[in-house]
């Protein structure tokens, strides 16, 4: 049995594609025309890469907030298959 480690990665075969779930909220959801998507990512990807895939290459607006798995982070955060990556405008509750 082969044990895949961090240095010997599992080959990306058919059926092993790496995907993340993307969510958009509020005014950003309206601008994008949908509330999210599932996008394929490369083996090494950041939240910024996910944005580019999901937005069709648009620049990330400077005030947009980024969350990975429901925790605030920034666009340079690494993401892995199965993560949930959310993009949204500044929050205005209360």
């Amino acid at each position: 049995m082969i044990v895949w480690s961090d240095t010997v990665r599992k080959p990306v075969c058919e059926g092993n594609s790496m995907t993340v779930k993307v969510k958009f909220f509020a005014s950003l959801k309206e601008q994008m025309g949908c509330d999210g998507a599932t996008v394929e990512i490369g083996e090494v990807a950041t939240a910024a890469d996910v944005w580019l895939q999901a937005s069709g290459g648009k620049a990330l607006p400077p005030n947009v907030l980024v969350a990975v798995n429901m925790e605030y982070t920034d666009q340079n955060q690494g993401v892995k298959s199965g993560d949930e990556v959310a993009f949204f405008p500044p929050v205005t509750g209360g």
């Binding site: 005014s27 969350a67 429901m70 925790e71 949204f88 929050v91 205005t92 509750g93 209360g94």
Partner: protein
């Protein structure tokens, strides 16, 4: 401690009375000397325009998680006995309550300071978004909060 995010309208006064009677008093009989509360209510005006309705959107899961983190921080920083945090989502009309923050402590300093901190942290970190329906018919996203200080 209780956190709830709900589409159903609520009465903050009834929720406060019920929570204190059913939860705080039995858990801390004779121990709390202070309760501080903040209630946020929908106005019928904003930035010079009349507003007749509002939609509050949130991020289910993350919103509750962030509210829990904010309360945990407050419990670590101040001596609190209990807290209640209720927030509306969905369709709202003017005069309807949006948010209730209530904290109980032995002394007023902890209650006042924690209540203020929780409310300001919620405004800047909890993922909620307001879209106003203006009297002219247009929809407008609220883009930033007013200064709380």
């Amino acid at each position: 401690m209780k956190i709830a995010v709900d589409e159903a309208p609520f009465s903050p006064w009834e929720a406060l009375a019920q929570y204190e009677r059913d939860v705080v008093q039995p858990a801390f009989p004779g121990k709390f000397g202070a309760a501080a509360t903040f209630i946020g209510t929908m106005r019928d005006f904003n930035e010079g325009d009349g507003v007749h309705a509002m939609t509050l959107e949130h991020y289910p899961g993350m919103t509750e998680k962030q509210l829990q983190l904010i309360l945990d921080e407050a419990f670590n920083k101040w001596k609190l006995l209990d807290a209640l945090l209720l927030h509306r989502v969905g369709e709202l009309k003017p005069q309807e309550p949006i948010v209730l923050v209530a904290v109980w402590s032995a002394h007023r300093k902890d209650a006042f300071e924690a209540c203020r901190h929780i409310m300001e942290a919620l405004k800047s970190r909890a993922p909620f978004w307001k879209k106003e329906q203006l009297d002219g018919g247009a929809g407008r996203w609220v883009e930033k909060n007013s200064d709380g200080y």
